[in-house]
C-alpha cells in the first residue's frame, strides 16, 4: 500500500524516548577488556551495533552494513543544559513565572511573546509572585537576580509550565524540560566507527573519546555524591560534566576552551560533523567521490584536435568500460583479453574474475554470451573532461580519448578558454562514461565540437590564440606568392591534408588560407587592425582591414583575432549556421596549425630595441610629459590659492585629485599617439595589430611613459605624515610625489617610480585574489537560487512550482548557443 506522507514533526528527544530507543544502559567508561573485547555496558558495547566485518549484531542479529546501529543511554548523575537550546531556555525563563510556571501575561492581554521577553513584567499576573531579573551569561550560565541557577532548578521550573501556556507562546518540539538533559543518548557505534591501525592499535572516533569523558566524569560525580563529598567538589565535577556534554555537541563555541585530542588537534563535535563545506551536508550528501575518474596535470599538444584528449597509458589501463559479451562484441572482447586490454571478466552468476596473464587462456575458452568484461579505455572512447572551478556549462565537455605515453593529460591549447585553463601546473579531471546511453548523450550534447558557441553571449568560446593568430595574420597579409612546392610544404608542416586545386601555379597567403574555408561562406567585416577611419572605403582599405569572403574565398582583408580569435572570431560564429560542427572543428584545428606552421617558416622575433624611438621623438614625448606635469602644478597652485574651480559633489581636494588625474591621463594619451605614429614596424606591432597579444598601452609603457600608478583608483596617498615617502616634502602634492612615473620601462625608473610601480602591482595581485573569492561566492548563491528554473515547451521560464518567471525565455526566445552574438542566423 502506498500512503502519502502528510508531514514530519521534529521534536526534542525526551527522557522517555531516549530510554525507549536505547538497547543498552551505559555504566562504565571502559572500552575494551584485557583481551581486547568490548566491555558490556561501555560505550563500545557490542549491542550498540556492529562495525567489525563478519560479526553479527547482538541486538538485531544482522551483519555489518545491514545493522543500522542502536542507541544506548547514560543516566546523568545531575542534569546538564543542552547547549544548543540556551537561547530558548533564556527566553522561556524570562517569560514564565518563577513560582507557578505560567506565562507572564494573560491571554486577553494579547501580548506577543517577543515583546514579553524584551520587556518582562515584574509580577506574575496569576500568582502575584515578584519576578527576579533573569540574566544569561554565555555560554551556559543563567542568573536569577544575580544568583546562579542550577540546571536542576531550571528543569524544575520548566516542569511547572502548563502545556496550554506553551501552546499559547508557540513553543514547539515537546516539553521544555527536555532542554535540560537528565538522560544522555549514547550514539550507535556505527556512527563513530573505530579504525584499527596497521600496528594493530585501535584508534577511536572523536565522539567515542568524548563519550568516554562524559561517562567517566558522570561516574566520578555519582561516587562523590554517594559518599557525601563537599559541595565544591560536587560543583566542580558537575561543571566538568557540563563542559564535556557541551563540547560533545559543539566544540567551536566562543567562551569555551576547545576540547582537544592528545595530539593537540581539536575534537570534532556533532555540529562540526554536519557544518560547512566538508560537513555531512555539503561534503557527503551534496557532493560525493566517484569511481571511473582520473586527475592529472594538463599540458598542451597542438597536434591533437580540440575535441580530443591525450590520456596517459597508465590512466587508460586503470579506467574501464563495461562491455557485455554478445555475438557482435565477441571478437572485440576476445581481442581485448588477448592483448591484456581487459581488467575483469564478470560471469553471469555475478563472480568477478581478475584477468591476468595466467588465467586469460582459461577465460578465453570459457567466455560466452552473457558475460561482461571491463575493457580498458581506448582511442575513440567518449569521456567527460572537467576543470574546476566549474563556473559555467562548458567547464565540463566530452572529449575523444587518445591514449598516449607519459603522465599528463594532453589537450589542444585552443580548448583552454572555455575551461579557463593554462599549463602552469593546472590539473583536470576525467570521467569514463559507463553506459552506452551516457556515451552517446555526451558525444552529442556536450562534445567540444558542439559547444563552440557560448550559451552566454552567442560568440565562439574556442578559437585561435597567440602565435596562431599572429601566424594567420602574417600569412594572409603577406604579398608573397607561394609556388605549389612551397604551399605543400607549409600545409604538410601544419598537418593539413588538402588537395591543391589543379592548374594553379602560385598561391597567395589569402589563397592558402581560403583552402580551409567552406565554400558556403560569404561575409564581410572589419578586422582588428581596422583604424576606424571616418569613412570606410571597404575593399579598397589601404591597411587591408576589410575582410571580404565570397564563396569560401578570402578576397580582401587580413585574418586576425576578429576573424578567428577565441571569444571574438566572426568567421567561426558565422560558420556555425552554415556547416556542420565537425567541419568547424577541423577548420579551427587546421587554421591554428597553419598559422604556427607559416610563422615557423617566416620566423618571428621581438626585442626591446624594436621599441627604440628616434631622439627627436623622445624629446617630443618628454615635452608632452613635462607639459602635463606643468599643468598639474598649475592646478596645485590654484588649489593652494583657493582659486581652483570645484567640481560638483566634491570637496576642493577631491576636485584637485580628479583634475590632476585627468590632466596626467591626457598627457599619457598624447604620448601614446606619438608612439603609435612613430614606433617602427616590427613583430611587436604584428602582435598588437593582429590582436594576438599586447596593446598600445603596453607599447607606450615600455617605450615612452608608464604614467600614473593608482591605488584604489586614486593617486598614491598612503605613507608618512602628509607625504608618501621621505623623498618628498610634507604637503607635497606634485605628480612625482603621488605615483606618476614619467619614464618608460625601457628607460630607467627612479627609485620612487619603481616603488609606485610595485605598489600598483601588489594592489593588482590582492585585487585579483579578493575578487575571485568574492565572485565565487556570489556565483554559488546565484546558482543555488536559479538552478531549478527551466524553459518549458511554450518557451516560458518556470520554476519548480510552475510559477512563471519569464513568459518568453530571455524575452526574445533566442538560445544564444544557437545564435550569432544573440541574433538569429541569417
Amino acid at each position: 500500500m502506498v500512503s502519502r506522507i502528510k508531514g514530519i514533526e521534529f521534536k526534542m528527544l525526551d527522557p522517555e524516548m531516549i530510554k525507549s530507543l536505547a538497547a543498552v544502559r551505559i555504566v562504565t567508561s571502559d572500552l575494551y577488556d584485557v583481551d581486547g573485547y568490548p566491555v558490556e555496558g561501555g560505550v563500545m558495547d557490542p549491542r550498540l551495533g556492529v562495525i567489525d566485518p563478519g560479526l553479527h549484531c547482538r541486538t538485531c542479529g544482522s551483519g555489518i552494513g545491514d545493522c543500522p546501529g542502536h542507541f544506548g543511554y547514560l543516566e546523568l548523575a545531575k542534569p546538564v543544559i543542552n547547549i544548543l537550546y540556551t537561547k530558548a531556555i533564556y527566553k522561556l525563563l524570562k517569560i514564565t513565572c518563577s513560582k507557578c510556571g505560567r506565562v507572564l501575561s494573560k491571554p486577553e492581554d494579547n501580548k506577543k511573546s517577543k515583546d514579553l521577553s524584551r520587556n518582562p513584567p515584574g509580577k506574575c499576573p496569576y500568582c502575584g509572585q515578584e519576578q527576579g531579573k533573569i540574566k544569561f551569561l554565555k555560554p551556559n550560565t543563567f542568573y536569577e537576580d544575580k544568583e546562579e541557577m542550577s540546571p536542576e532548578h531550571i528543569r524544575e521550573w520548566f516542569e511547572r509550565i502548563p502545556d496550554d501556556d506553551l501552546k499559547r507562546i508557540n513553543f514547539k518540539g515537546g516539553r521544555p524540560e527536555s532542554m535540560i538533559l537528565t538522560l544522555f543518548p549514547v550514539s550507535p557505534v556505527t556512527t563513530r566507527p573505530s579504525i584499527t591501525l596497521e600496528s594493530g592499535e585501535k584508534s577511536e572516533d572523536d565522539l567515542t573519546h568524548k563519550l568516554v569523558d562524559i561517562v567517566r566524569i558522570n561516574q566520578s560525580l555519582r561516587e562523590n555524591m554517594d559518599i557525601g563529598a563537599p559541595d565544591f567538589i560536587i560543583n566542580d565535577l558537575w561543571e566538568l560534566l557540563q563542559y564535556h556534554v557541551t563540547t560533545y555537541f559543539d566544540n567551536e563555541l566562543t567562551g569555551i576552551p576547545q576540547a582537544r585530542h592528545r595530539s593537540g588537534r581539536p575534537l570534532k563535535g556533532m555540529i562540526q560533523r554536519m557544518k560547512g563545506k566538508e560537513g555531512r551536508i555539503r561534503g557527503n550528501l551534496l557532493g560525493k567521490r566517484v569511481n571511473f575518474s582520473a586527475r592529472t596535470v594538463i599540458s598542451p599538444d597542438p597536434r591533437i584536435s580540440i575535441n580530443e584528449v591525450g590520456v596517459p597509458d597508465i590512466v587508460a589501463k586503470e579506467l574501464t568500460i563495461e562491455v557485455p559479451v554478445t555475438k557482435l562484441s565477441m571478437n572485440e572482447v576476445k581481442e581485448a583479453i588477448k592483448r591484456d586490454r581487459a581488467n575483469y571478466a564478470k560471469r553471469p552468476d555475478g563472480r568477478r574474475i581478475k584477468i591476468s596473464s595466467e588465467n586469460k587462456e582459461e577465460i578465453l575458452e570459457n567466455i560466452a554470451e552473457g558475460w561482461v568484461i571491463d575493457r580498458q579505455l581506448k582511442d575513440g572512447d567518449m569521456v567527460l573532461f572537467n576543470r574546476q572551478p566549474s563556473l559555467h556549462r562548458p567547464s565540463i565537455m566530452a572529449h575523444k580519448v587518445r591514449v598516449m605515453p607519459h603522465k599528463t593529460f594532453r589537450i589542444s591549447p585552443q580548448v583552454c578558454p572555455p575551461y579557463n585553463a593554462d599549463f602552469d601546473g593546472d590539473e583536470m579531471n576525467l570521467h569514463a562514461l559507463q553506459t552506452e546511453e551516457a556515451r552517446v548523450e555526451a558525444a552529442e550534447l556536450i562534445n567540444v565540437k558542439n559547444n563552440l558557441i557560448s550559451p552566454r553571449f552567442g560568440g565562439p568560446l574556442i578559437g585561435l590564440d597567440l602565435d596562431q593568430i599572429s601566424g594567420v595574420y602574417l600569412l594572409t597579409r603577406s604579398k608573397k606568392k607561394f609556388n605549389r612546392k612551397e604551399t605543400s610544404a607549409i600545409l604538410s608542416k601544419a598537418g593539413i591534408k588538402i588537395d591543391l586545386p589543379d592548374g594553379v601555379a602560385e598561391f597567395t597567403g589569402k589563397e592558402i588560407f581560403s583552402l580551409l574555408l567552406p565554400k558556403e561562406l560569404n561575409m564581410e567585416f572589419k578586422s582588428t587592425s581596422c583604424r576606424q577611419c571616418d569613412s570606410c572605403i571597404k575593399e579598397k582599405c589601404e591597411y587591408d582591414s576589410w575582410v571580404k569572403i565570397k564563396n569560401g574565398k578570402l578576397l580582401t582583408g587580413t585574418i586576425d583575432a576578429a576573424a578567428v580569435g577565441a571569444f571574438k572570431g566572426k568567421i567561426i560564429s558565422r560558420m556555425h549556421g552554415l556547416v556542420d560542427t565537425d567541419t568547424i572543428r577541423k577548420f579551427i584545428d587546421n587554421a591554428g596549425r597553419l598559422g604556427v606552421a607559416f610563422m615557423g617558416q617566416r620566423g618571428f622575433s621581438i626585442g626591446i630595441s624594436d621599441l627604440d624611438l628616434k631622439d627627436d621623438i623622445m624629446e617630443q614625448i618628454g615635452k608632452r610629459i613635462v607639459k602635463a606635469e606643468k599643468e598639474s602644478n598649475a592646478l596645485i597652485e590654484k588649489y593652494n590659492n583657493k582659486e581652483l574651480e570645484i567640481l560638483p559633489g566634491m570637496t576642493a581636494s577631491e576636485s584637485l585629485e580628479t583634475r590632476i588625474l585627468n590632466v596626467l591621463a591626457e598627457g599619457l594619451n598624447s604620448t601614446s599617439e606619438i608612439v603609435k605614429e612613430h614606433v617602427k614596424d616590427s613583430d611587436f606591432i604584428v602582435m598588437v595589430n593582429s590582436g594576438s597579444k599586447g596593446s598600445l598601452v603596453n607599447l607606450t609603457q615600455m617605450a615612452a611613459c608608464v604614467g600614473q600608478e593608482a591605488i584604489l583608483g586614486q593617486r598614491i596617498k598612503r605613507g608618512y605624515y602628509n607625504r608618501t615617502l621621505p623623498h618628498f616634502r610634507q604637503g607635497d602634492l606634485s605628480a612625482a610625489g603621488h605615483g606618476f612615473v614619467r619614464k618608460g620601462f625601457k628607460q630607467e625608473l627612479s627609485p620612487t617610480e619603481l616603488f609606485w610601480n610595485i605598489m600598483n602591482g601588489r594592489e593588482g595581485l590582492m585585487d585579483k585574489s579578493l575578487r575571485t573569492r568574492k565572485s565565487g561566492y556570489m556565483q554559488r548563491r546565484l546558482v543555488n537560487a536559479l538552478q531549478d528554473l527551466r524553459v518549458t515547451p511554450s518557451l516560458a521560464v518556470k520554476n519548480s512550482n510552475g510559477h512563471i518567471i519569464q513568459f518568453v525565455a530571455g524575452e526574445d526566445g533566442v538560445d544564444p548557443s544557437k545564435s550569432e552574438w544573440g541574433d538569429v542566423h541569417e
Binding site: 511554450s794 518568453v808 530571455g810
Partner: protein, 67 residues
C-alpha cells in the same frame, strides 16, 4: 510607463492555456499598485504589459491582479 491592458475573459483563458498555468502561478501585481489605480481592475483580472526589451524590442508580460 509600459502599456498595461486588462484582458477580456476569453483572452485570459487563452493566456492560461498557452502557458499551462493557473492563476496562482502567474506573476502578481497588487491592486494598490500605482499603475492599477489608474485603471479599472479588480482582483483576478490579468493585465498584459508591453515593455521595451533590450533583446526583443518589445516583450509581453502578464500579471494577475491581487488584493
Amino acid at each position: 510607463m509600459p502599456k498595461h491592458e486588462i484582458l477580456s475573459d476569453k483572452e485570459k483563458k487563452e493566456v492560461m492555456a498557452k502557458f499551462d498555468v493557473n492563476e496562482s502561478q502567474l506573476p502578481k501585481i497588487s491592486i494598490s499598485d500605482p499603475v492599477m489605480e489608474t485603471m479599472d481592475a479588480s482582483p483576478g483580472d490579468i493585465v498584459r504589459i508591453t515593455r521595451n526589451s533590450k533583446t526583443a524590442g518589445k516583450a509581453v508580460y502578464y500579471r494577475v491582479v491581487v488584493k
